[in-house]
C-alpha cells in the first residue's frame, strides 16, 4: 500500500484513491454511530464544519495545518457536544430527523455568512506546510497523509469497538432496555458516540480542505450525508470497519468509471439504493451469506441488525 504512488502514475486515479480514503473515514464515522443504534444524517455537516474550521484557522489566523487539524477536530467536538446534548436524548427517528435538520441548516449558515466565505466559498486554501523533508506538492504526499489519518482512524475505532465502550454501544443497539438494566447510561454513551463520530468526520473534512484547496457550502449539503449513508448501507451495515470501506470504494470509483452523465446520476443512484434496500439490506458484504443460504425472498425482512450474526470484532455482534 505504501508503494501505491509509485505504481499508479495517473493523478486522476490517485485523486480517486485519496477521495476514497477520505470517504472511508466518513463512512467509519457513520458506522460508529450506527453501532450504537443511531442513524445520522449529520456526517456531511460535521465534515463541512471541520473543513471550514481548518481552512479558516490557516487562512485567517495564520496557523499551520498541523495545528489547525487537531483544533478543527476540537471544534467539531464542541459543536457536537452542544447539539448532541439536546438531540441524543431521544433516539430513533427523532434523532435522525434532527440530524437531518442540522445537515440542512449548516450549509445555509455558512452560505449566508460573509465571514465564512459566503456561497462562493473559500478558495486558495494552502496545502499543509512541509513536514521534515516532505513537501506537499503533487498527489503522493497527500496520499500518504490521508492513509496515515485513515490508519489512525481505523486503529482508534477498532480499539473502541473492542473495549467496554464498544460493547456498551452494541448492547444499546441490540436491546437498549436490557442495557439500561445492566447499568449502562444510554444518554452518555450515545452522546459519546455522537461526539467521536462527529470529530472523525471533522478531521476528514479538514484534510479535504487542504487537499482540494477550495471549499463551498454546496459540498456538504444533505446530499453528502446521504452519500455517506449509502457507503455504509452498500458495504454492509453489520461490518463496522470493512463495510464503509467497501461501500466508499464502490461509490467513489464506480460512478467515475462508468462515466454516466452527471445529470442522470442521482436517478441511477436512487434506483440502486432502493433495490439495495429491498433485496440486499445487508449490503455487498452480506452477499456470500445470502448466496450460501439461497434465500432471495422479496419479503425477507431483516431487522436493523441485518444479516445473521457471527461473533466478531468489527461486525455487528
Amino acid at each position: 500500500m505504501a508503494l501505491l504512488p509509485t505504481v499508479v502514475k495517473s493523478p486522476y486515479y490517485m485523486h480517486l484513491v485519496i477521495m476514497t480514503c477520505d470517504n472511508i473515514m466518513l463512512g467509519l464515522s457513520f458506522s460508529l454511530l450506527y453501532s450504537t443504534g443511531l442513524l445520522t444524517m449529520a456526517a456531511g455537516a460535521f465534515w463541512g464544519i471541520g473543513a471550514y474550521t481548518s481552512a479558516l484557522l490557516v487562512m485567517k489566523a495564520g496557523l499551520s495545518f498541523w495545528i489547525a487539524l487537531p483544533l478543527s477536530g476540537m471544534c467539531s467536538v464542541l459543536i457536537a457536544l452542544g447539539t448532541g446534548a439536546v438531540i441524543t436524548r431521544i433516539p430513533g427517528i427523532a434523532f435522525l430527523i434532527q440530524t437531518m435538520v442540522i445537515s440542512l441548516i449548516i450549509p445555509e449558515v455558512v452560505g449566508y455568512s460573509e465571514f465564512l466565505g459566503g456561497w462562493g466559498g473559500l478558495l486558495g486554501i494552502p496545502g499543509p506546510s512541509p513536514i521534515g523533508p516532505l513537501r506537499f506538492v503533487g498527489k503522493a504526499p497527500y496520499y500518504y497523509l490521508v492513509v496515515v489519518l485513515l490508519m489512525l482512524n481505523v486503529l482508534a475505532f477498532a480499539a473502541l469497538y473492542s473495549s467496554r465502550v464498544g460493547r456498551a454501544w452494541r448492547s444499546i443497539r441490540v436491546n437498549a432496555q436490557l442495557a439500561e438494566t445492566l447499568g449502562i447510561n444510554l444518554y452518555r454513551f450515545r452522546l459519546l458516540a455522537f461526539v467521536i463520530s462527529s470529530a472523525a468526520a471533522g478531521l476528514a473534512g479538514s484534510f479535504y480542505a487542504h487537499y482540494f484547496q477550495a471549499l463551498e457550502p454546496g459540498m456538504f449539503t444533505a446530499f453528502k450525508s446521504i452519500n455517506v449513508q449509502i457507503f455504509a448501507i452498500l458495504g454492509g451495515l453489520n461490518y463496522y470497519v470493512v463495510g464503509p470501506a467497501v461501500g466508499a470504494a464502490i461509490m467513489t470509483f464506480v460512478p467515475e468509471l462508468l462515466r454516466v452523465g452527471k445529470e442522470i446520476e442521482p436517478v441511477i443512484t436512487g434506483a440502486v439504493l432502493i433495490l439495495l434496500v429491498i433485496f440486499l439490506p445487508g449490503g455487498v458484504l452480506s452477499l456470500p451469506e445470502r448466496l450460501g443460504s439461497f434465500s432471495w425472498g422479496l419479503m425477507r425482512r431483516t431487522k436493523s441488525d441485518g444479516a445473521p450474526a457471527k461473533p466478531g470484532l468489527y461486525k455487528g455482534d
Partner: protein, 240 residues
C-alpha cells in the same frame, strides 16, 4: 398505584402477587426506574432512590429480570452475560481503550466469572448457543443470569416462572433459592401462587394498585380479602 407501602429486609424473598392488572409489574417499573414516580418514596439500603433512572438504579445494586425474555437475542449465552459485566470493571476507560495489560487481565477475570455464573445457573453447556435459539425456559434463566451479572444485592424477578413447564419451573425455583442462599434479596412477582407460597418468606398482595394484605404465606392463604380478590378477578388461579 395508590397507597402501597411495604418493606423488604435483607436476605428475604418477598413475593408480590395479585390478580391481573393489580400493578405488580408497574411496581417493578417504578422501583427500577423505568417509570417516573409521582408521589411517594422508595429507599434502598438507607438511600432514597425515588425517580432515579434505570441505569443509576442498576448501579446501586438492584438487578431486574423481565417477564418477557429480554436478552441480546443475536448473541451467545456467554456474550449475553459478559455484556452484563459493564459495571464491574475497575480500570478506567482509557486503560481499556489502550488495551493495557491490566485491562486485559480484568477482562480475563470477567470471563471466568461469567463461566461461574453460567455454571451456578446450569447453563454452562449452552454457552455458545445463540440466545434466540434457546428454548423459552432457558431464555428466562439466561435473563436471570444477566441480571446477576451486575452483582446485585436486590433482585427483582418479574414472573420468572411464566410459560415454563413443571421441570423448568422446578429448576428455576431451585435457582431462586440458590440465589437467595448466596445473600441476594429477592422480590418476586408471580402468578403461580403455589410456587410463591413455597419460595417466599413473606407475601404482599396487590389488587388494582392497592396493597390489600401482607404477611407470611400461611396467613395470606387464609386471608379472606385475598381470596375475594382472586376469585372475584381471576378464576384461573390455583390456590393450594
Amino acid at each position: 398505584m395508590s397507597d402501597v407501602s411495604f418493606d423488604v429486609s435483607e436476605g428475604e424473598i418477598v413475593g408480590l402477587i395479585g390478580p391481573n392488572g393489580a400493578g405488580k409489574s408497574t411496581m417493578f417499573n417504578l422501583i427500577s426506574g423505568f417509570f417516573p414516580v409521582n408521589s411517594g418514596k422508595i429507599t434502598y439500603a438507607g438511600k432514597e432512590i425515588t425517580g432515579l433512572k434505570a441505569h443509576a438504579v442498576a448501579r446501586l445494586g438492584i438487578g431486574r429480570a423481565f417477564q418477557a425474555p429480554t436478552l441480546f437475542m443475536n448473541l451467545s449465552v456467554f456474550e449475553n452475560v459478559f455484556n452484563g459485566f459493564h459495571l464491574r470493571y475497575q480500570k478506567s476507560f482509557w486503560k481499556s481503550f489502550f488495551h493495557t495489560k491490566g485491562a486485559l487481565e480484568e477482562e480475563k477475570r470477567a470471563r471466568s466469572s461469567v463461566m461461574e455464573i453460567l455454571e451456578f445457573m446450569g447453563l454452562a453447556q449452552l454457552k455458545s448457543v445463540q440466545a434466540r435459539n434457546l428454548p423459552h425456559g432457558h431464555q428466562k434463566v439466561l435473563g436471570v443470569c444477566a441480571a446477576m451479572a451486575i452483582k446485585p444485592s436486590l433482585l427483582l424477578l418479574d414472573e420468572p416462572l411464566s410459560g415454563m413447564h413443571p421441570e423448568e419451573a422446578a429448576t428455576m425455583g431451585e435457582i431462586i433459592n440458590n440465589i437467595r442462599a448466596s445473600g441476594v434479596t429477592i422480590i418476586l412477582v408471580e402468578h403461580n401462587v403455589g410456587a410463591v407460597m413455597r419460595l417466599c418468606n413473606r407475601i404482599v398482595v396487590l389488587t388494582q394498585g392497592r396493597k390489600i394484605a401482607e404477611g407470611m404465606p400461611r396467613e395470606i392463604a387464609e386471608n379472606e380479602e385475598v381470596i375475594e380478590a382472586y376469585l372475584g378477578a381471576d378464576d384461573e388461579e390455583e390456590f393450594d
